[in-house]
């Protein structure tokens, strides 16, 4: 069974507590939404989970293995995969090569040819199979997002973190991504999805985590969270006309 234990994790950027003593547990293939106003620390939290950043205090266990001390590639091998807020396809490599990288990384003894068939299937599922021999830089932004999801399918982790999968994506592609999440979740994978698209996230997720100012202020089923006064306070504040602010890049530490 998939298990994730985040215990009292904090991250301090030179005085700014970007993540402030956050704790939560995941048991089994849950579909979790992570929301919060800009600068709440959502992306920092995902970076801590994936090992791109090391927490200043606290511990993270996945399947009873401590992962906050591991390098990112080992965390991927333990079974945690992620996408990035700004798509990060390998731009000067073809779509096929992009898809082969995680598969080969996970199987040190395998030959390249073994995974071509699987890569084609994945590409077909994501409707980018006609682009297999194109360089990733020739793809549109939405297609690059699909490619990132395809890489995750090739990596085949138990636990998947998606950072803004719906931001700036055409409605048609959004449907594909939505299907991808539901399908993969049915196959027994757990998800944490960060999104500003409230309608989608409320219908999609079974459980919602809400962050504000680095703290986890709510954790529960969407219906409960919607009524939580702390959440309403954090989101609405004084300006009740604009409940959901537009997407903006969070300050990325250099």
């Amino acid at each position: 069974m998939i298990k994730l234990d985040v215990n009292n994790v904090s991250k301090n950027f030179g005085g700014l507590l970007a993540v402030n003593h956050v704790s939560f547990q995941v048991r089994g293939p849950e579909l979790i939404g992570l929301i919060g106003p800009n600068g709440a620390g959502k992306t920092t939290l995902t970076n801590l989970l994936s090992g791109a950043l090391k927490p200043t205090s606290g511990t993270i266990y996945m399947n009873d293995q401590r992962i906050d001390v591991l390098p990112p590639y080992k965390i991927a091998a333990v079974g945690l995969g992620r996408t990035f807020q700004v798509t990060r396809a390998f731009r000067r490599m073809t779509v096929l090569e992009n898809l082969l990288v995680p598969a080969l990384a996970m199987h040190p003894a395998a030959r390249q040819g073994q995974f071509v068939k699987k890569a084609k299937e994945v590409a077909e599922f994501l409707t980018i199979d006609h682009l297999l021999n194109e360089y990733a830089r020739a793809l549109s932004g939405g297609q690059q997002k699909l490619l990132e999801l395809g890489r995750l399918l090739m990596l085949d982790p138990d636990f998947i973190i998606l950072d803004e999968p719906f931001a700036g994506v055409h409605p048609k592609l959004m449907e594909i991504i939505y299907d991808y999440i539901i399908q993969t979740n049915k196959n027994g994978k757990a998800f944490i999805i960060i999104s500003h698209d409230m309608e989608t996230i409320f219908t999609l997720s079974q459980r919602l985590l809400v962050m504000a100012f680095g703290k986890l202020i709510a954790d529960g089923p969407p219906e409960e969270v919607r009524k939580d006064p702390a959440v309403i306070e954090a989101y609405l504040g004084s300006d009740s006309d604009k409940p959901w602010q537009p997407v903006r890049r969070q300050a990325q530490p250099a």
């Binding site: 590639y73 390998f90 990384a105 932004g141 939405g142 994506v169 055409h170 537009p246 997407v247 890049r249």
Partner: protein, 405 residues
């Protein structure tokens, strides 16, 4: 269609190799330049693997060539194999043979021991292939240590560290005159100390032709090795690291390990080239490691095309011949241009302009046109037909709302 391209590629390789083998008969008087050109071709293309494929910018490539050359030279200067113990030098027993080190503390120990050793005692230098191999290992060791130290950090650190390392290594070799001969240079035995014979033709040790074929063999071997590496999972991983380290790591690629491996392998290739070079030119000086040499190698790789091993190699060969052609002074009216210096200005300027305007180099695009970048003809045709089709299927970009008004 794809098959045609493969045949074309194979044909190009066969023609190219054949041309290089026949080159001595075309320009028998320019063999020295030809060997040096191949030496630069090995360095430029291995640097292209490191920087163009792997995205790791090292300025210590010539330093590694220097390590290979000096290891070979110093072994030739200080180490002998004898069939009887000297009793005077530092020595290790290898069964019936003794490995003798004449260190700087007792430089004449072997000479003085000759009197006491039994008559007919053999004193042998290590053969060139062995000291070149040692040079490769030492180069690899340095590559491993530097890589382990610096490659965990951002890529600018590698550039900063290697440029400093290269300079320090040169100053140390300059300063330790007792060991290395300092700026005056270190004598190295020729590649074929007793000459070589092919068929019934005998070459003296000073003949360039046998050395040419040794350097050519090394070049072909290195190119084959690098193409194999680039085509394997190793090549895939280092390219993904070049594109985006963080993303590659999040997909399970052991980024640091592959970077160190890449750095070590290219350091060993450079050391191998340096070792053969040392035996060819027979006097090596710390000048082979100056920043100027590194700049020339980089200019060769960039002008040839950093992302193509073959492009970098061709660039190196063409530029080396061009540099030799441009040596003679040019007189324009009352002014005489000292081309020995000005030609480097020309190549420095060409390097900057190539970087600025032709990011893929000048030769790689030609190769790409012939091989279509390894992509099938159908794909190329499709790209030409519907350039905008892909983009119309979705909104412009995820970055849209993030840009600053």
């Amino acid at each position: 269609m794809r098959k045609n391209i493969r045949t074309l590629k194979l044909l190009t390789w066969i023609l190219g190799t054949g041309f290089l083998i026949l080159l001595p008969f075309l320009i028998p008087t320019r063999m020295h330049v030809a060997v040096i050109a191949l030496y630069y071709a090995i360095l430029a293309s291995s640097w292209a693997l490191l920087a163009g494929y792997g995205g790791q910018f090292s300025f210590a490539h010539m330093a590694f060539a220097g390590i290979g050359a000096y290891t070979a030279g110093l072994i030739g200067k200080f180490i002998r194999i004898t069939s009887a113990p000297t009793g005077a030098c530092t020595e290790f027993s290898l069964g019936n043979w003794w490995l003798v080190i004449q260190d700087t503390a007792s430089p004449t120990c072997l000479e003085s021991a000759k009197a006491t050793m039994p008559l007919g005692t053999l004193i042998i230098k290590l053969p060139p292939w062995l000291d070149i191999t040692m040079g490769i290992l030492v180069g690899g060791l340095f590559g491993l240590l530097i890589g382990a130290l610096v490659l965990r950090l951002r890529r600018t650190y590698l550039a900063l560290f290697t440029i400093a390392f290269a300079e320090i290594l040169r100053t140390v070799i300059n300063a330790e005159r007792d060991v290395t001969g300092g700026p005056g240079g270190l004598k190295v035995a020729p590649l074929f100390p007793n000459g070589a014979s092919i068929g019934n033709h005998t070459f003296s040790p000073a003949d360039k032709l046998p050395s040419y074929f040794v350097m050519l063999a090394l070049f072909l071997l290195v190119m084959a090795l690098m193409y194999w590496l680039a085509g394997s999972r190793f090549g895939l991983f280092i390219r993904s690291i070049r594109e985006d380290e963080e993303a590659a790591a999040s997909l399970g690629v052991d980024v640091v390990r592959y970077k160190i491996l890449l750095f070590t392998v290219t350091a060993m290739i450079a050391a191998a080239a340096g070792g053969v070079y040392a035996h060819f030119v027979r006097v090596i000086a710390p000048n082979m490691m100056v920043i100027k040499e590194m700049s020339i190698v980089i200019a060769m790789a960039v002008i040839g095309g950093m992302e193509s091993l073959l492009g970098a190699a061709i660039g190196a060969i063409l530029i080396e011949f061009a540099l030799e052609q441009l040596r003679s002074n040019i007189t324009v009216g009352p002014f005489t241009l000292n081309m020995a210096d000005w030609r480097l200005v020309v190549f420095g300027g060409l390097l900057m302009l190539t970087l600025r305007f032709w990011g893929n180099g000048l030769i790689y695009p030609i190769i790409q046109r012939i091989t279509r970048g390894g992509v099938g003809e159908e794909t190329v045709a499709k790209r030409l037909q519907q350039p905008a089709a892909n983009d119309s299927s979705s909104l412009p970009d995820a970055e849209g709302p993030e840009s600053v008004p």
